[in-house]
């Protein structure tokens, strides 16, 4: 395509609607319309100019606001569909098969269809992410397509415009002027904080041009935000681990090399309705128990620099901290959150080795349920050997005891009881409230005496290095929105012809009311000719025509 030469001699790039230099209408459509289309200053936008190659077509597709809005609407509907049933992250099932069953069992055929369509994990689905990606592309292309020509055009704009540009502005007036009209107008406009440029017999007053960049700035903010979200898939930027920590236990923090965490104790506190809480009495009576605080008192240790790898000692205390909901422990870019708890997990069980007949005790032994030892020597020469330990006993399979989990929920012990009377040893299998003697009746048994329990804290270990990027994106977005919405770009063109006639035109990207208020002051001060709002005239004419039709 060829460049367009304007009557004023300026060469405009193909696709230009209004001459970049003088503002004359270059297309037939513009020439025939009463008002010029001032959006993007009548510049050549790539999307409106080229439509040949595949790249043109893709560019044109994504630069369209209609397409952008359509993507937004599709995303909106998709997001809503994802809330019809809970997402898989919120259902009490973890494996693929149990999740599928859960939807079918709980929600019947609706659940089955929902799961079949993949809506149970909608927000991580390929197509949903692709939609977000398309939105990002649309943000970039639609912004570039408009910003680049608009920026160039506003940067290079001339003071003097052709009368045909001026009289096609929405705000327009012409009439006789005095000799000092231009100077007076300049003074008043300066007072109103306009930037003034003059050229020969003309004046251009401009204010708030930066507001034109608002949309592009907020789009940049969104792009930065989406980029930050994408970045978390890169290794090293994001850590999300869970850590179950028992009271009194010290553990290495997963994915946080060199750091250890000890739990001094977990505390669950409920509202009592007493003391200062009497005001809540009625509410507590209605709903029952309400939790007041979940807290794990922890000590953070760091491996000393000179410590040997794997050595248990050589840890230096970094800090003590009570982790509570809303008050995570923070260190070195990581944060540890109070997320869950288990109360009264079994810690140790104490038994007495007793003679079944005489009920005489040969001594006591305590088995640590997390870290049991193999042999327990009792005072009177008796020994208990722990042949097998099943922390979460779930039954026998092929005669072998099984454990469902490594957690001591239902401990089972296979023990050999050796006493001076039974030096060969007697075998016994013990679970809570039950004893099995697989190799015949025994003379001795282990009698349960007591159990120690402790609480377990469910902690989340988190690092998210993308947060500053997301924050920056959000900040830029907000700045852009304020810039574009709360300010506007106002311009006046004033010219005095050789015969003293004043031409006056004004334009703003929004808030015409404010523009007119400014102009009224200038008109009064500098005795400019009266102006009209040509859009209002057109509207009135249309309305009159309609009413005329209705009457006839």
């Amino acid at each position: 395509m060829e460049n367009l030469q304007c009557q004023c001699g300026h060469m405009n790039p193909p696709g230009t609607n209004l001459c970049e230099s003088c503002g004359r209408s270059l297309t037939e459509k513009e020439q025939n319309s009463k008002l010029v289309d001032m959006r993007y200053e009548g510049t050549a936008r790539r999307s409106q100019t080229y439509n040949k190659s595949i790249i043109d077509k893709i560019w044109n597709f994504f630069s369209s606001v209609k397409v952008g809005v359509s993507i937004i609407i599709v995303l909106l509907v998709a997001a809503a569909i994802g809330t019809i049933l809970p997402q898989q992250a919120f259902v009490p099932a973890t494996t693929e098969a149990t999740i599928k069953d859960y939807y079918a069992d709980t929600y019947g055929s609706i659940g089955r269809v929902y799961h079949y369509l993949g809506f149970h994990d909608l927000y991580s689905s390929f197509w949903f992410i692709a939609l977000v990606g398309m939105l990002a592309i649309s943000l970039i292309i639609a912004s570039l397509d408009r910003f680049v020509p608009l920026y160039k055009s506003l940067k290079n704009q001339r003071v003097l415009r052709h009368p045909s540009f001026m009289d096609k502005q929405r705000i327009y007036g012409s009439g006789a002027g005095a000799e000092d009209t231009l100077e007076k107008a300049e003074v008043k406009l300066k007072e109103l904080k306009y930037n003034i440029r003059t050229d020969k017999n003309g004046l251009l007053a401009e204010k708030g041009r930066f507001s034109r960049w608002g949309p592009y700035v907020n789009h940049i903010g969104l792009i930065i935000f989406l980029f930050g979200v994408m970045l978390r898939m890169m290794p090293g930027f994001y850590v999300d681990e869970s850590l179950w920590l028992r009271e009194g236990e010290t553990r290495a923090i997963p994915e946080v090399p060199g750091y250890y965490l000890e739990s001094k104790g977990f505390e669950l506190e409920n509202y009592t309705g007493e003391g200062g809480e009497e005001v809540f009495g009625e509410a507590l009576d209605r709903v029952g128990t309400v939790a007041k605080n979940y807290q794990t008192d922890v000590v953070l240790y760091q491996k000393a620099e000179d410590a040997l790898p794997g050595a248990a000692d050589g840890q230096e205390m970094v800090k003590e901290y009570p982790i509570r909901v809303n008050q995570p422990l923070k260190f070195d870019g990581y944060a540890i959150y109070q997320m869950d708890y288990r109360l009264d997990e079994l810690k140790a069980m104490t038994f007495a080795l007793t003679n079944k007949e005489t009920e005489e005790s040969l001594g006591e032994l305590t088995i640590d349920l997390i870290d049991p030892v193999d042999t327990y020597e009792l005072e009177n020469g008796a020994t208990v050997e722990l042949l097998g330990y099943y922390p979460d006993f779930s039954g026998f399979e092929d005669g072998e005891p099984q454990t469902a989990t490594p957690l001591p929920n239902n401990p089972g012990f296979l023990v050999k009881l050796i006493t001076p009377e039974t030096p060969e040893g007697e075998t016994s299998f013990i679970t809570i409230q039950n004893t099995v003697e697989p190799l015949g009746d025994n003379d001795f048994k282990l009698t349960f005496l007591s159990a120690d329990t402790r609480d377990v804290s469910g902690l989340t270990v988190r690092k998210d290095s993308t947060l500053p990027i997301l924050g920056l994106g959000g900040l830029i977005f907000m700045i852009g929105v304020a810039q574009g919405m709360y300010f506007n770009h106002r311009r006046f063109w004033i010219q005095q012809k050789a015969d003293g006639t004043i031409l006056l035109a004004g334009h703003t990207n929004k808030n015409w009311f404010g523009l007119k208020k400014d102009l009224d002051q200038v008109v009064e001060y500098a005795s400019l000719p009266a102006y009209t709002d040509q859009q209002d005239e057109i509207d009135k004419a249309e309305k009159a025509e309609k009413e005329g039709e209705a009457l006839s």
Partner: protein
């Protein structure tokens, strides 16, 4: 009188003031002769004064309750919804002083009244905060959201006025149907309030046990006569009415019963109005909008969104993400409330882009503004009460 009692009395004062102001605004607008604004000018001033008195009482309710509970009263359904009613009036006051439009008050105040009445149907005693809510972010995040939603709702009110003026009630059309549907749904809220108040004043209670969707035994107390019975229900209250239909475990028959009672009562009220006045409600309101300047209503609707959208972004997305990162260790988790906040935001973003195009100002914008309000109400009511999630504090 302790602080909590003072607080609820101030809420009554606000309620009554809004009620009176509604009628004064209505009279102010109705009293105009075609094409003149004398009545508006005279009575509009009286009406806005009453509104301001009500709003000050409303703020008084808010801060005395804050004092009584020790936390920002934005922590449950009653508190949040009441605050929404308050910010709606606040948004109206701002726009009233910008544009001097009594007709806006005539629409906004009754809606605010309905919202406050709706809120009062939920348990309103002062309740303690669960650990997740014990932070200043409660006040920061929720108050920003509720202010933003109050302002955004004004755009729906302006849209509604626009539609009342342009939709012809004498000609059958899609527009006429949907406009009346909006009116009908507002009456349904009245139905809910009337039904709840009636059964609560008469002290109705019926207890049942049932089997929930996880196959566990559970108990429920109906506050309204059970039309629907829970899955495998067993009545514990002797003289209570037997449920007519038993629902499967997936459906919460108790909530369904409340909804159906509200629809029944609301529909009766709606048809009573229709029978007495022999007109659609939209047509009844038509004389009030005869003097409305359509361009101005469009401008108010747009301006409300321009003000509300950035505040909503800040409160419902940015502050929400910061708090979620602190409390739940992740800034975003696709919890239903989060998703619906995103949907609301996307919707208004679409609105702002559509208005760039020609032909989307005026009536289409008005419809969009009303739909925006429907989305906000959906997020408030349905997501809280039906779609359970982390935000279900009611």
């Amino acid at each position: 009188m302790n602080l909590a009692d003072l607080s609820s009395n101030l809420l009554y004062v606000a309620f009554v003031a809004y009620l009176i102001a509604t009628f004064v605004f209505g009279g102010a607008v109705k009293g105009n002769k075609e094409g003149t604004f004398n009545s508006e000018k005279r009575w509009g001033r009286v009406a806005i004064t009453i509104t301001l008195i009500g709003f000050i009482a409303n703020l008084g309710y808010f801060f005395t309750r804050w004092g009584a509970t020790g936390h920002a009263p934005l922590s449950n359904m009653f508190e949040f919804t009441t605050a929404f009613g308050m910010t709606l009036v606040g948004g109206f006051i701002i726009l009233y002083f910008l544009y001097k439009t009594p007709v806006l008050g005539m629409i906004v105040l009754p809606v605010a009244l309905l919202i406050i009445a709706f809120a009062s149907m939920f348990p309103s005693e002062v309740s303690p905060l669960i650990p997740a809510l014990q932070t200043n972010w409660l006040a920061i995040h929720v108050s920003t959201v509720v202010i933003a939603e109050g302002i955004l709702a004004i755009s729906a009110a302006a849209g509604l006025i626009y539609l009342l003026k342009v939709v012809d009630p004498t000609k059958k059309s899609k527009q006429r149907f949907w406009l009346e549907a909006i009116m009908y749904s507002l009456v349904l809220v009245v139905g809910f309030v009337v039904a709840s108040s009636f059964f609560s004043l008469t002290g109705y209670e019926a207890e049942f046990t049932y089997v929930d969707k996880e196959d566990k035994e559970a108990a429920i107390t109906y506050a309204m006569p059970p039309i629907f019975g829970m899955n495998e229900y067993v009545a514990l209250t002797d003289e209570a009415m037997a449920p007519l239909i038993e629902t499967p475990a997936l459906v919460h028959a108790g909530k369904l019963t409340t909804v159906v009672w509200s629809v029944i009562v609301g529909t009766i009220i709606y048809w009573l109005i229709r029978l007495i006045f022999r007109k659609r409600i939209a047509a009844l309101l038509k004389p009030f909008v005869k003097n409305v300047n359509l361009q101005l209503m469009d401008e108010i609707g747009y301006r409300a969104i321009i003000i509300g959208f950035p505040i909503f972004t800040l409160g419902a997305l940015i502050f929400a993400m910061i708090w979620a990162q602190i409390a739940w260790s992740r800034f975003w988790g696709w919890d239903p409330k989060e998703v619906w906040a995103l949907i609301t935001w996307l919707f208004y973003a679409a609105y702002l882009h559509l208005r760039l195009g020609k032909g989307w100002q005026g009536e289409k914008s008005a419809w969009l503004a009303v739909i925006g309000f429907v989305i906000i109400m959906f997020n408030l009511v349905v997501v809280n009460l039906i779609i359970a999630g982390l935000h279900s504090y009611a």
